[in-house]
Symmetry: D2
Subunit: 386 residues, 4 copies
């Protein structure tokens, strides 16, 4: 565990009262004692922003009424006094303007996913980050799990041989009814095209599935064929999506995501089949990775053990059998982003372990995936009648 002196100063945009993901970001930031909350523009209205900042013990002067105000005032502070990084935990439509402005001003950014609303925006951000040399982490938090890092290493090491097939799925049920009509703020903005973007389930959780495959396997999507549906009448965005995919290497795959799958909570799973073996991982019981070599007993690899790769070992905090879970995985994005920020502050290039977090490039690839999935979903020429 990397407890470190000299806490990083974090500003936060969004995440005030009624928000869900902001609190998760804060727990993730606090867990290792690496960050302190120094400033915030925590909600979209000045009153709610101030009230939320007060809840969290922000000093009055750094409890801002808007992100624009925070950007201006923090930029004006002396180096060493200003925030080191900003967390962007707003609804999706605010990611782009906020991220762009803070990167331009030279701040490091930790941004929720999906990154932005269009590939144009994404590419602009990618260019900007490259130009500024800042840290830009995207909280594809599921790839922060130690056993995901272990899976990635085993694929890299050839334990599976050439990959033939990947099945990734993400099943939820929280939008199985028209929750957005019942005053549920999370449901409201996530089903609203203005705030969520062109996609519902595809953007919200399909993008996690895409990122999980890309992170573990490094396979590149060549083409896809999607059936994108809205099951709940009157809903403005998709709530179920099923895809056939092909990778440039010749591997094939399935991706499916749903928010109307009754009885499923946060059922993200991946199965990777190679010529020699397969790997299976399930987010709801994340401390285990199943490795099945052809013709040999299945193996269950466990978090916290000495036989894991270094990245997986570093991503854990406690011994095996003491389960780590969602917040710890989320915190791994914050920790490695923080270690990279510290490295830059010390004038060094972050090493491979410090750099082990999803970047703006992952975010941009995810946006493209969303666009193509929605495009394919609108095409109907793929069907053969019975």
């Amino acid at each position: 565990m990397a407890e470190t002196t000299g806490k990083l100063k974090l500003g936060m945009v969004g995440g005030g009262r009624d928000a869900f993901i902001g609190a998760v970001h804060r727990s993730a930031a606090w867990l290792d004692g690496m960050y302190e909350l120094s400033a915030g523009a925590l909600s979209s209205t000045p009153e709610k922003a101030k009230a939320s900042g007060k809840d969290l013990g922000l000093s009055d002067e750094r409890n801002y009424e808007s992100w624009e105000q925070m950007l201006e005032k923090e930029s004006a502070r002396a180096e060493g006094e200003r925030i080191d990084a900003v967390s962007i935990v707003t609804p999706n439509h605010m990611h782009f303007p906020v991220a762009k402005a803070f990167v331009e001003a030279g701040f490091h950014v930790i941004c929720d996913k999906p990154l932005v609303h269009s590939s144009e925006q994404a590419e602009e951000l990618v260019r900007l980050v490259e130009q500024k040399g800042t840290v830009f982490a995207v909280t594809y938090n599921y790839t922060g799990y130690p056993m995901v890092k272990q899976a990635r290493q085993m694929v890299r090491d050839g334990a599976l041989g050439a990959i033939r097939k990947v099945i990734v799925e993400y099943n939820q049920d929280w939008l199985a009814t028209k929750l957005e009509d019942q005053g549920a703020k999370q449901a409201e903005w996530r089903t609203d095209p203005k705030r969520s973007g062109i996609a519902g389930v595809v953007g919200d959780i399909g993008s996690h599935a895409e990122n999980l495959v890309a992170t573990i396997t490094a396979l590149e999507l060549e083409s896809l064929c999607a059936d994108v549906s809205t099951f709940v009448p009157g809903r403005a965005l998709d709530d179920d999506a099923n895809l056939l995919v092909r990778y440039r290497s010749g591997a094939k795959g399935l991706m499916f995501a749903s928010q109307i799958s009754a009885g499923e909570e946060n059922d993200l799973r991946i199965r990777i089949y190679g010529e020699k073996a397969s790997l299976t991982w399930h987010q709801e019981n994340p401390n285990y990775l199943r490795y099945k070599p052809l013709g040999e007993p299945e193996q269950v690899l466990k978090r916290g053990t000495g036989y894991l790769c270094e990245a997986a070992q570093r991503a854990g905090r406690i011994p095996p059998g003491h389960p780590e879970a969602f917040i710890e995985a989320f915190a791994n994005v914050y920790r490695n982003a923080g270690l990279s920020i510290k490295a830059l502050k010390e004038g060094r290039t972050p090493d491979e372990f410090e750099s082990d977090f999803p970047t703006v490039a992952d975010g941009a690839r995810g946006v493209k995936f969303i666009e193509k999935t929605i495009e394919s979903g609108k095409s109907s020429q793929k069907w053969i009648g019975l």
Copy 2:
């Protein structure tokens, strides 16, 4: 358990030395003491047929050299002396001629799946069976499991509400290498278009997946979109297939089947999502059915308990916790087919429980599914490039 006096006389075509499924059919037939093996034409060559029949203790006179000989001689025997039914457990290409001839001669038939090679053949058999009024069971054995029958009843009873999505999958790895070049008879004929038909994995196990959905949900396929692949170089038939499907009711689904998924044994699973709840069943641990109502605790229903529906209770033999498995489920097809044959012999129409087995109509629908899947797999216009 239905132990019964007066065993049915069974003839068998195929299933001799080196065969796999024939021995399973026999265990299934023996389990409840309802059948005795009275005649056989157990292999495609006279010598092997005779040797196989000797292994199984057939009398010389009814240990036939060919199915044609068996048909002729058994037809010539007096009623009460001749076989009641014939089991057809040959490679697929023999199903049609053998089944047709025995049905025409008025024998009851229990035939392995997939039924035949084409919809034309299938429709001819359907008409013939209807005309003759004989029993014709197709050993879609997985729908013989008690918990599959329970799932079917719960769908019928509306426990799930309208069905929105069905995910069915069947993953194996036994053809992950080119086993057909290594003297493995099962692999040889199953990858040979002459004997297996137009499909490999789609016919061998995809058809089980299709049957499982149809049996439990009664949903009718409207259209499908398939990615059908051959991963093992030089293989003559498909070994992996992934499908998007749409049902006439508006439900959507995924079907996928593979024989190259390293580390998977006989991994047939189904998940059925309705408006109100979902059901999950897994063939490898078949005594449990998971029922997940929205907003309530998940329930695990167990074979052998008093709260199951009558069809599920009748399909079990022993108390809960004493697991029943593959052979018992297979035997349920034989048992109900046998009960139907007995009913007809007694001059009665079989009741709904006696009739509870897959029929020639199920077989015909399966053949159509195979044809359409292969057709869709050949079309490439469905893909959107990235």
Copy 3:
């Protein structure tokens, strides 16, 4: 799979209408086509015996009114015509007189457990069987499971190192209420000291637990300390028992068995901890054996695979992933007993695989275990107050 010509002729004592275990014995006997039911004295009253035999299709002349009649008449038949073996599936109190008489007359015996009511009876049977040289199998059916045989081999091969600790448990709930007052025949005799013997749960299922440990590990009990309870008011025998045990090798252990553990069905489990590794097996999901070597990934060994020992491979019938279960394991006792009977008929000594079934000596050791557990349960000097 060992399908064989020349079926063995089986007689059965007990197992008529209303019986549970008799039907299981028959399914086990039929499964491999190795036995045919030639004679029976299927119930304790002549009327019910005859009616039960009729149900099962026994010929009138060999459908006996009593076991004494069956013994007399079958003994009088010519060799080759008389039954080869007798299955004793009565309540416990009849095991001794019936088994003694048939062994004395030179018949092979397959007897349910617990063997008899006292160590004196057990030792007499052991002597008699040795003297007569007949086959005597006791249906400790759980040790018929392939993965139990695999566990036994791994212990023998030293995969665990010296064994330190064994936890075996057998939890049920079917006697959680006073079922014996509600007309349930199984509950009636099993809670009746006259028929069941000195023990309830300890004899009925505790003896299975004892046999499982002994079979897998070959550890010999040195001493035990038991808490034996009757939770259901008015019940005449114990329904819950918890034991600390010590083995001669220095290993320690826990054994516990219960028929009042609400929600448990047939929950027999064993965990064996050695210096180097452990093994875990669970009867309710019996196709898997978990092997956990110190400091390495857990392994899941699966029935039907090529890496299992020969005894485990022979004990299976179908490929991996096609689950086998309770009846198949039970049938393995019948199959190996049958193979031994055939070997003796052919004038040969059965080999190690043919001899792989629980014998009268296992039965006798089980009876001693029951006696000592009940004795310890009555002693109260073990308790330290708080």
Copy 4:
């Protein structure tokens, strides 16, 4: 989630470099942003203490060389400036002197378990805490899990009826070899009677098992019978213990704990059997609670859902399917202790939810359990020979 303004000032004794549990305490304290580390005496030597405090960013003036110094200096600070509470995370032998001194000085205490070395010490602490009216939490962290709180409520609500049997077990393997000879600091002190006390495994993890039963069921131990062993040659304390227990209510139970059970990581499990139903919970997959009512389907209750009791809901931070684990449960002890401290600072009595953490009385009961178990383990009159 209770993020709160006005962080509590925490001092820490122990938990410096090389320590394990200190870092866990800190993560637990930081997670909800409720505490800040204001002072510390982090190791037993001044040099190491100072270096450790520097690692953690303590100010020089409050980075103490010894706990005595910390006590003196912090006591001298003005109210509002001094630490609110002290975390005691030293080896066991230091718990008593440190806790006693800080309670006497009026500080709130959060102390690791087992509480102290003897019942005399424990009772003295209980009296002192009562007299001072301070908060005293003992980090029996496993009872901080939400599903443990749910189990407790269901028992209280009578969902199980009268409890008949409780099986609690805690299996580990980290001391399966003589780790204490290999420079492992955790192993060294935990197997050293001077620092660990009279018990090894019984104190280290057996006490967690005892606390889990007491917390969920409120059953009071009446008597026990223990087999306490040391398997690793040369080890100074016990590494395996198996107990039969009896509760005052008439319920019976088993408790077993081991640190030599090869392949087990942190395998704490409990099964509670009542007249009407049972509950099962497993620490390694802690977000699920299994409820098995007699004659009905098993239910799986899940963390984060709306049907849980209030204490369970308050103990969670994120939605269902987003697993929470060890650190979050540990943090629940800190959070509720912190809420109680805040309540007292505000002049109010903490409510039932704020008071929901293990207290000095739980700690004292645990010490008595340890003493009696060791006493019973030394008695040999309980054994019946075979």
